[in-house]
């Protein structure tokens, strides 16, 4: 052990010292499956699920066998050691990281099991799918367990790679390849921010270890703190699909549904929230108030964007994706509130991980049964055909819209309450946005529920894109069991977690700061439920009483058209970044071709041409050489005489 440890940090011992196994097991699974190739086809899915389940078991053992009043530092090896740049490869096991580890391995295990059933149409490639999932789990665990910003960055890029590979899973389809590229590129934009933040830390604090950075950051100048805060936020925006980098997340639904559930709803996209919560010693500083305000604004804007677009889409998974975008907006808003909200952001993250994974798995179950049909206008009346899917999905739905005493109710309420508790007009603006978001969430989720599961079966008589009839059926046990477990978690998780989690997280992210807004906590709860009920009621009045057309209506208001076009998010990115970028590269190519290459080629051509002419003087006639020698000699002699006598 070379580095000194800060207060409250001890060397890992006991169960925590085996934490490296958490990473190693899925990494080993991925390696065996990728290197083993076709030979592992028969049992690859079992190995892939086994490693994650084992990691989950280990995480549970670690959870119960470790004292989380302290932060445990596990030094593995010296990773990078170049002059002053010394980075250890180490893990940090504390309340925050173990919470994430339990979520990742727990939900990850369920989704691995679900994938065994979901991917049984593609037996040939199922092994590779599990290899990528294992790779993802390993990288995600590294992201949350690393003890420095560089190890976090390593995991950050690892999950980006796994996400890219899995979004582009259906390689033959153009839209999947495009979506994968889009996700990768937009993530790079955020990664640049994170990388710059790390550079700034190393430049100014001489280290990237959490303990050392957080110890040194208090004395840093305000400008530096705000810069680091904003750059970290840019990284979080890229990974978590926050405004203005939200457009990749809905497109990422081109991947198989378990991927959408695990990576693009429950775990990876919440990495931005983790990053900000982990950096809470930076954001909590009074000097970082401006950075925190920007975090809150980004969160609030994203809540509204996600909700509004979610109301207009007809694609089952894309509505859920925009729902994810807006729910992560809640978490970002919560962690932007500072000490009043960190714990609630994490709480919402965990509960959201459960119910959103469950909702996605339900969507996957529906699509599995309906020949991959994702257009909700072509579904309907499925509750009789798929009772387990329907009931588990409904529980997830109730949890998401904040039905009293289900998990979303507890976590979202706390966020709304904390937002309303901000001073002055801020409290009303952010609290109002959060309340409005709750109403809109209830509206679009009720619309989904009615169009997919209730009402008339609009699919009878229609054929799917590949020309087959629809024969909806309940999914196999490997798929329904994870859905049931997640539904149970969505129902019970919130109550238990809201009791335990904030206190549990105190050693990692500090005490929860009590907020006292204009409204009492109970009033806020009643208000939020009432607004959700109004949203759900409006959705029922619009979609529940009359039959919806199978074709999407074309004559719609401007608001709906804007929402269908992602509120022009893609156009914005295109106009602000993509086109100027193209122009810049074209201009640079022009300068390079004409300017730099022109100079180099011009010199070469000039030398070549002049030597070609000079060559002509080599005539081969000895007498002309003699003449030139004579002339030269005369010149030399004349020069000598001039120097001598003039």
């Amino acid at each position: 052990m070379t580095t000194t440890l800060a207060e409250g940090v001890v060397d890992a011992s006991g169960a925590a010292s085996a934490a490296w196994l958490l990473l190693a097991l899925p990494a080993l699974g991925a390696a065996v499956l990728l290197i083993g190739g076709r030979r592992t086809d028969k049992w690859g899915h079992l190995l892939g699920s086994g490693t994650v389940i084992a990691a989950f078991a280990l995480a549970v053992v670690t959870f119960f066998g470790t004292d989380f009043a302290q932060q445990h530092n596990l030094h593995l090896w010296d990773w990078i050691s170049v002059n002053q740049l010394v980075i250890d490869f180490g893990l940090r096991i504390d309340a925050l990281s173990i919470t994430f580890v339990l979520l990742i391995t727990g939900v990850g295990s369920l989704i691995h099991i679900y994938s065994i059933g979901y991917m049984n149409h593609e037996l040939r490639d199922r092994r590779r799918f599990f290899a990528y999932l294992n790779l993802f789990v390993s990288a995600m665990l590294l992201l949350v367990l690393g003890n420095s910003f560089v190890t976090l960055y390593f995991g950050w890029e690892g999950v980006g790679l796994a996400s890219y590979l899995l979004i582009g899973w259906y390689q033959g389809k153009d839209f999947a390849a495009t979506a994968a590229k889009k996700a990768f590129l937009m993530n790079r934009v955020g990664d640049v921010g994170l990388a710059l933040a790390i550079f700034l830390m190393f430049k100014n604090f001489g280290s990237t270890q959490y303990t050392e950075v957080f110890a040194a950051v208090g004395d840093a100048p305000t400008g530096l703190i705000v810069a680091i805060g904003l750059l970290l936020l840019l990284g979080a925006c890229g990974k978590s699909g926050q405004f203005p980098l939200q457009a990749w997340l809905p497109d990422a639904m081109a991947g198989p549904t378990p991927v959408s559930a695990l990576i693009h709803a429950a775990t990876m996209v919440t990495a931005g929230v983790y990053l900000i919560a982990r950096s809470s010693p930076i954001y909590s500083l009074p000097q970082a108030a401006d950075a925190r305000l920007v975090v809150m604004i980004i969160g609030a804007v994203t809540i509204l964007i996600g909700c509004v677009i979610g109301c207009a889409y007809d694609d089952f998974k894309k509505v859920l994706a925009y729902s994810t975008v807006s729910q992560i907006g809640y978490m970002i808003l919560a962690v932007g509130l500072g000490p009043a909200g960190y714990a609630f952001g994490i709480l919402h993250l965990i509960t959201h991980g459960f119910f959103k994974a469950g909702l996605f798995l339900g969507a996957g179950s529906v699509m599995h049964a309906m020949n991959d049909e994702g257009d909700i206008r072509r579904l309907g009346g499925l509750w009789k055909k798929m009772p387990i899917t329907f009931w588990t999905w409904t529980l997830g739905y109730l949890a998401l819209i904040g039905f009293p005493f289900l998990s979303g109710f507890f976590s979202k309420d706390e966020i709304i309450n904390a937002a309303l508790g901000q001073e002055g007009p801020r409290g009303w603006i952010f609290g109002g946005v959060a309340l409005l978001g709750a109403g809109l969430t209830a509206f679009y989720m009720t619309r989904l529920l009615i169009l997919v599961f209730l009402g008339k079966a609009r699919w009878t008589g229609l054929k799917s894109a590949d020309g087959k009839d629809y024969h909806p059926h309940e999914s196999p046990t490997t798929m329904t069991v994870p859905m049931i477990i997640l539904a149970v978690g969505s129902v019970a998780g919130g109550f238990i977690l809201s009791m335990v989690l904030p206190d549990f997280l105190v050693p990692a992210i500090g005490e929860v700061q009590e907020t006292h807004g204009a409204l009492s906590h109970t009033m806020v709860g009643i208000l939020a439920v009432a607004i959700s009920a109004i949203g759900a009621g409006i959705a029922y009045l619009i979609f529940g009483r009359s039959e919806q057309p199978v074709e999407r209506p074309q004559r719609v208001t401007f608001a709906v058209r804007a929402a269908r076009a992602d509120l022009f998010g893609n156009h914005l990115n295109e106009a602000l970044f993509a086109r100027p970028g193209t122009w810049l590269t074209r201009a640079l190519v022009y300068v390079d071709n004409r300017g730099v290459d022109g100079l180099v080629n011009g010199i070469a051509a000039g030398l070549g041409g002049s030597s070609g002419r000079l060559r002509r003087t080599q005539t081969g006639f000895v007498r002309s050489y003699a003449l030139s020698m004579l002339g030269g000699s005369i010149l030399v002699v004349a020069a000598l005489l001039v120097v001598r006598f003039a």
Binding site: Q618, T619, G620, V622, R623, L630
Partner: protein, 99 residues
């Protein structure tokens, strides 16, 4: 003694040699003209040696003669072999070594 006449003669011989090298085509004649130039230089060296009253210039003259003899041996051999292969002794005909 006055060196003027010696030096004038020497310059005259050197000029004849140089012009001969430039205008004549026959390799043998060019060769003889080169000898003429060398010996014009020798005459100058000897004149100045005499003028200065030491032997340096005369020793230099001997060196020039030795070099000239060696040059004649090699040069004539080359000219002869060119004549054997190409049936000509004209320096303008041997112009293959060019651009």
């Amino acid at each position: 003694m006055t060196p003027t006449y010696y030096l004038l003669l020497s310059a005259l011989l050197f000029t004849i040699g140089a012009v001969g090298v430039l205008v004549r085509r026959n390799a043998i004649v060019v060769f003889m003209c080169i000898e003429l130039m060398l010996n014009a230089v020798n005459l100058t060296l000897v004149t100045f040696a005499r003028l200065n009253g030491d032997l340096h210039g005369q020793v230099m003259g001997f060196f020039v003669m030795v070099v000239a003899a060696a040059e004649v041996v090699v040069g004539l051999a080359i000219i002869l072999s060119i004549f054997r292969t190409r049936r000509t002794a004209s320096v303008d005909d041997s112009n293959l070594l060019k651009y």
